[in-house]
Amino acid sequence: LAAQAGASPQKVWDAPTRLFHWLLAGLFAFSWWTGEEGRLDWHRWSGYLIAGLIVFRIYWGFAGPETARFARFVRGPRQTLAYAFSLFRPDYRLAFGHNPLGALSVLAILLALIAQVGLGLFAQDTDTGLVSGPLNRFVSYETAEAATELHEAAFDILMILIAVHVAAVAFYLVVKRANLVGPMITGRRRRWETGPEGGLTAAPLWRLGLGVLLAAATIWLLATI
């Protein structure tokens, strides 16, 4: 069924991309919980941090190493369909990094997160009227109310996208016998005859530094508006 995986590990995800992924997962859960519990002071901070992560990930999609780059993994409809049809062929090879279908998932989740955080900036605290988004005071009560409702609706869309993402990971684990979670933790996987022989080449440290600065500036800006 699956291609024979070699014994020597191959680096596929760099540390910043992995850290981004798990910080995002953790903060998303934290935002969910604080939103449910009405802990909007924490919810707001969580949103600022997620905004910082989004800015970093977009930047990293252009400045990061190969498997983090949008241009490297976003594919057109033809190649995406070709990948989908190849899934059950005997010569199937696990992609090095995001496969074309996973790329759609990455883009959809990123876009939904941008909408979610963007709406949250204008949303208002309907419990006390005081712990509202940082841009709430620049819009009317009615506009803010609409933003708040959309903020709640967009959450459902995100949950659906995350369910699809988790289901896809389960599919690869059960059907394709490929553990995608491990490499997202360790950065390494067994070789699948795809990708460069020596594995992923990390991006220069100064680029990472610039990305962290961009993220920090975003968080600072939102916290001080």
Binding site: W32, E36, G38, Q124, T126, D127, T128, G129, L130, S132, N136, R137, Y141, A144, E145, E152, M159, A163, V166, A167, A170, F171, V174, V175
Partner: protein, 180 residues
């Protein structure tokens, strides 16, 4: 394999559904509802004679939104860096003016059993003393805010606005339907 996938999917669906398990309480029994019936005569403007449950609920929502908007007006004004009493005072008048009528916007029958979209929980009528106490706390905090606004003490408005907001939240936490 298919079965394992199905099970994984079902488990995830259950996880998702768990956050939607916020069903409103069952309606109060008539005897419990009786105890919460507040005198509607004191405030002619709030509730008209024999209005339908729908009218009561719509009027209540309109007033509560006015209060929410007033909170926002004051909060925004304080955050703007140049607070002005001309902006703050009318909003405070809204918050304090509605305060004594607040509890009476919840007469018996104007809860979830009315069949109108409302976030008012049946607990308002089941736990009438608790609800009255929560309303009373708001009345007290709004009155203090009024005193401060009358005195023109801009420095004290912010902290007291926080106390008013906490009184809002105190009641919402127990007696308002949580969004999923």
């Amino acid at each position: 394999m298919t079965l394992r996938l199905t099970l994984a999917g079902a488990a995830f669906a259950a996880l998702l559904a768990a956050c939607n398990a916020e069903a409103p309480d069952t309606a109060a029994t008539p005897s419990e509802v009786e105890t919460a019936a507040a005198p509607a005569e004191e405030h002619g403007a709030a509730v008209a004679a024999n209005p339908s449950s729908q009218e009561i609920i719509e009027t209540r929502q309109k007033h509560l939104k006015e209060m929410g908007a007033a909170m926002k007006t004051i909060g925004d004004n304080l955050k703007s860096g140049s607070p002005s009493l001309e902006t703050i005072r009318p909003a405070v008048a809204t918050l304090n003016g509605h305060a004594p009528n607040l509890a009476s916007w919840f007469p018996a029958g104007a809860g979830p059993e009315a069949g109108v979209k409302t976030e008012a929980l049946a607990k308002i009528w089941e736990d009438a003393p608790g609800f009255q106490a929560a309303a009373k706390r708001y009345v007290g905090e709004a009155a203090k805010l009024q005193t401060i606004a009358d005195a023109g003490d801009l420095q004290a408005i912010g902290p007291q606005l926080g106390a008013v907001g906490a009184a809002c939240k105190n009641c919402h936490d127990t007696y308002r339907l949580k969004k999923e």
